[in-house]
Structure formats: structure tokens, C-alpha cells
Subunit: 264 residues, 2 copies
């Protein structure tokens, strides 16, 4: 299988750098082909702006949606964007690896999403009617591909637990797992999260336990059950309001209502 790892950490000798190397080798020894988009090393341009699109009318107001759609359709995106889109098309699996910065992905990775996820490529696809609302949330160009987050956090697991002060990690990751990965059609595996990894705090035993768990996740990548998010156009939602039908998970609200495996 083809594996794309999108990676954002500024320091190659960090724990993240080691986990990346470990994961690449492990996929490799499983017979898979790996490409890494190392965003810091590539000096990835993080800001979506008019310079991304080569066929804009000079002086016209910039509209991210319209301009990205036109450039994608006309083959007039910058080469760096096209290259990343080709990697996504090539990949059977995508891992996004990053340290949690202020409760989300680093800016450089957010900018990868904003620029690579062009209109007509990752969104703005399919019919919008009273039966369907675009090919998204379970449909879209990434259908049949798997994705997983690998996240490191300085805080403790308890700080990110159901009643932890930071909010539950699953909820903090929902906008990414559901809104960025499930949206264009990925099957999203449960995240791999390493807690309490601040400076000097990962000793040999901790590291061995991390690589042991991560190795298993890599080995079981193709058989792991994805998070059972609800497909948008599968009957669970009223369209176009896009609210859960009253007989689906009655009384449930919030992120968890969009998975079939959690009852409040």
C-alpha cells in the first residue's frame, strides 16, 4: 500500500522526529511504500493567498473558493499545491503527525490543509439538493483511503480526559478528524496520542512503550476499525438543514452524536 505521512515538527532530533523515523521503517518493513511531506523541511508556504493561483484576473478581488476552483480546474495551481494533491491521490493511507500547539495542529500544517484542499478537489463536489448536500462527510475524493492522526502533547492524559481541564482529546481532535479527514471521505482510525512528552520527560522505558504501541498501530493499520462517523447523505440527517433526524440518537447533542458508537 502507499502511505503518505504529513509531518510538522521544527526539530529533527525531537521525539517527533524519532517517532517519524520509527513509523517510516515500520511501514516499510511491512512492504508498504512511504512518502513523507516534512513541512518544516520543505519550508511549506502556509498562507493561502492570491499567489497560489496563476490564472487570476489582474486586480480582481481575491476569493479563495472561486479562485482555487478555477485554478484547480484549469491546471493553474502552483506546483507545490499540485504535488501534494498528487500525493493524496496516490496514497492509500495518510498519517498526519504533529505536536499539539494550542489545542490544535501547528499553523504550518493548517496551511497545508487550506492550500492543498482546493475547491473541486476536497470540497465543493457533487449535487446540492434536498436529497444530498455535496459529496462530503463520508463521500468525496478520499473514499476508500484511511487516515490517522499521530499527536504528541506536553500535558498529562488526565488533563485531556472526559473531565480534564483541557477538554477530552477526542473532542479537541473532532474538527480535524471529522471536519478535515472524514469530510473528503477518509475512513478515520482512532488517533495515536502520546502524552507528557515535554523536554527530557521521555525516558527509555516510556519511549519503548510508545514505539511498541505505535508499531502495533502500524501493523494493524489495515484491519483497525475506523471511527464510526455518520455519513451525511446516508439518511441520518435532514437535508438541507443537516441536523440529525429526530429519531436518530434522540436527545444527544454535540460531537459525539455524529458517531454511532457513543450513547450519552
Amino acid at each position: 500500500m502507499n502511505v503518505l505521512i504529513v509531518y510538522a515538527h521544527p526539530e529533527p532530533t525531537s521525539l517527533n522526529g524519532s517517532l517519524l523515523d520509527f513509523m517510516v521503517k515500520r511501514f516499510d518493513s511491512g512492504g508498504h511504500t512511504v512518502q513523507v511531506s516534512d513541512l518544516y523541511a520543505m519550508k511549506w508556504k502556509p498562507v493561502l493567498d492570491a499567489d497560489d493561483f496563476l490564472n487570476r484576473e489582474p486586480g480582481a478581488p481575491f476569493d479563495a473558493m472561486r479562485d482555487s476552483g478555477r485554478a484547480y480546474a484549469g491546471g493553474q495551481q502552483t506546483a507545490d499545491i499540485t504535488r501534494e494533491q498528487e500525493k493524496l491521490v496516490w496514497a492509500d493511507a495518510v498519517v498526519m503527525q504533529f505536536p499539539l500547539y494550542w489545542y490544535s495542529m501547528p499553523a504550518i500544517m493548517k496551511g497545508w490543509v487550506e492550500r492543498v484542499y482546493a475547491y473541486s478537489f476536497a470540497y465543493g463536489i457533487g449535487e446540492h439538493s434536498d436529497k444530498r448536500w455535496g459529496d462530503r462527510f463520508g463521500e468525496g475524493k478520499m473514499v476508500g483511503k484511511r487516515a490517522m492522526l499521530l499527536v504528541t502533547a506536553g500535558g498529562w492524559a488526565s488533563h485531556y480526559s472526559q473531565r480534564g481541564v483541557n477538554g477530552p482529546m477526542e473532542d479537541l481532535l473532532f474538527p480535524i478528524q471529522h471536519g478535515i479527514l472524514y469530510y473528503p471521505g477518509f475512513d478515520v482510525l482512532p488517533p495515536f496520542v502520546a502524552y507528557k512528552i515535554g523536554q527530557g520527560r521521555v525516558d527509555a522505558e516510556h519511549y519503548a512503550s510508545l514505539t511498541d504501541s505505535l508499531g502495533k498501530r502500524v501493523d494493524e493499520f489495515w484491519s483497525t476499525e475506523p471511527i464510526p462517523f455518520r455519513p451525511q447523505n446516508g439518511g441520518d440527517y435532514d437535508i438541507p438543514a443537516l441536523t440529525l433526524r429526530s429519531d436518530i440518537a434522540p436527545g444527544q447533542i454535540g460531537f459525539a452524536a455524529h458517531r454511532t458508537d457513543i450513547q450519552s
Copy 2:
């Protein structure tokens, strides 16, 4: 009062550009002094990296926390970072205005947070013991200041409602409102959110209703009740686990448990 607006939209003639102008004038006519950090116009550097800190040992591995703390303490941050920190110190109120990109703030604004929120400035402050876990979540350098998000979204309000497919807007904004604003001590006002604002979809009537509501929010900025998040060191949490005490909001989990006004 002193008002800082941190603004991220690539196109000045956009709806966001108009709302910014409107808001600046309204604060101004209320007798307040406004500064705008227009991140796209400033060509804000969005990536936190070793170049941000002028006193690093050559060749030493980069550590964002350690290096930013040292540079902050030694007055060796780049001028753009220092300038934004000074604006935050100057401000009595901060508005962060942005279009929702992939369920969060644009990369350029995320990069503002990552670079301006230095160690010892916005985090890593105060005692860590079994009684207190740093000056954060209700304490910190921004205590006494107010903050508000102004967010525009292409989707409909129902898509972001309690049972809407995107997840509730309040929950999508929790990592920002709680994790970025309440963390260093801001009182966070309820967000101002404009829905369904895609291309050509805001007619004169819609625009009038938006500016009418926004004007009221500006006029009432100093008397609006902040979101009642729970202070971390105020007795509601076990320390250092940082989980809610069992007698506080018993049975409640998730983001809402960290506010005193929502019962599940």
C-alpha cells in the same frame, strides 16, 4: 479603552473587510482607541521556528518552549513578536476576527498565536504544586482584559447547531475561546458569528442586520457577561490531575463541563 483587533482575511473588499471597518469606526465613536493587526496586510510570518529567537546557541536543537522562554526573558525575540506582545499588554480588549477555514482559524492567525504567545508571557507562568498548576485558565498576564471572537462561516446556522453535522459552533470554538483566550486570563465574551456569508449571499438586508447586531455588541462590550468558564486553581479541579472534582457538575463530561452555566 484600548482595543486590539487581530484580523485575518486576504481580501480587503470582502464582507470581513467591511465588518472590520464598521467595527473600528464603532469602537472609535465610542471613544475607544483601536489598533488593528491585519495579518495578511502585514505579511505576518506564520511559522514558529528557530529564526524567531536571536540568542540561540548556534547548532543547538530547537526547542520551542525553552528557546522562546529564553528569548522572551533576554529581550531577544524578533521585533514583530515583541510588537504584538506590546499591543496585547496595551489592550484592554482584544477581538480576533476571521473566516472559519476548515472548522478553525486561518493558518496565519494560528501562527500569530504560536509566535506571540511566548513561554513566560502567555504560558509557563506561576507555581506548579499540588495547590496550583501555573497561572492559567482564569489567571495569567491577560487578567482584567476582555476578548471576543468575530467569526464568519459559509455554512448555515443549522449546520452548526446542537445536532448539526459540523458540530455546535460553541464546541468548535472551545479550543480557541478556552484554550487560547481563557488560558492566559482573558474574560471571553460570547462570540459574534455570521452564518451563510458565501459569495454574493449577503444582500443589503442581511448586511444591515449583521452591522446592527455587531454595533450592539460593540456598544455593550464592557457590560456583556463573559462565558463563565471555571478557573483552574479556584477549587473546582483536583490538582495535579486537573480533572473536575467529583462533586462538581457530577456526571457531566466534555467541553460544557468547564462552564458553570450549562447543565447536561
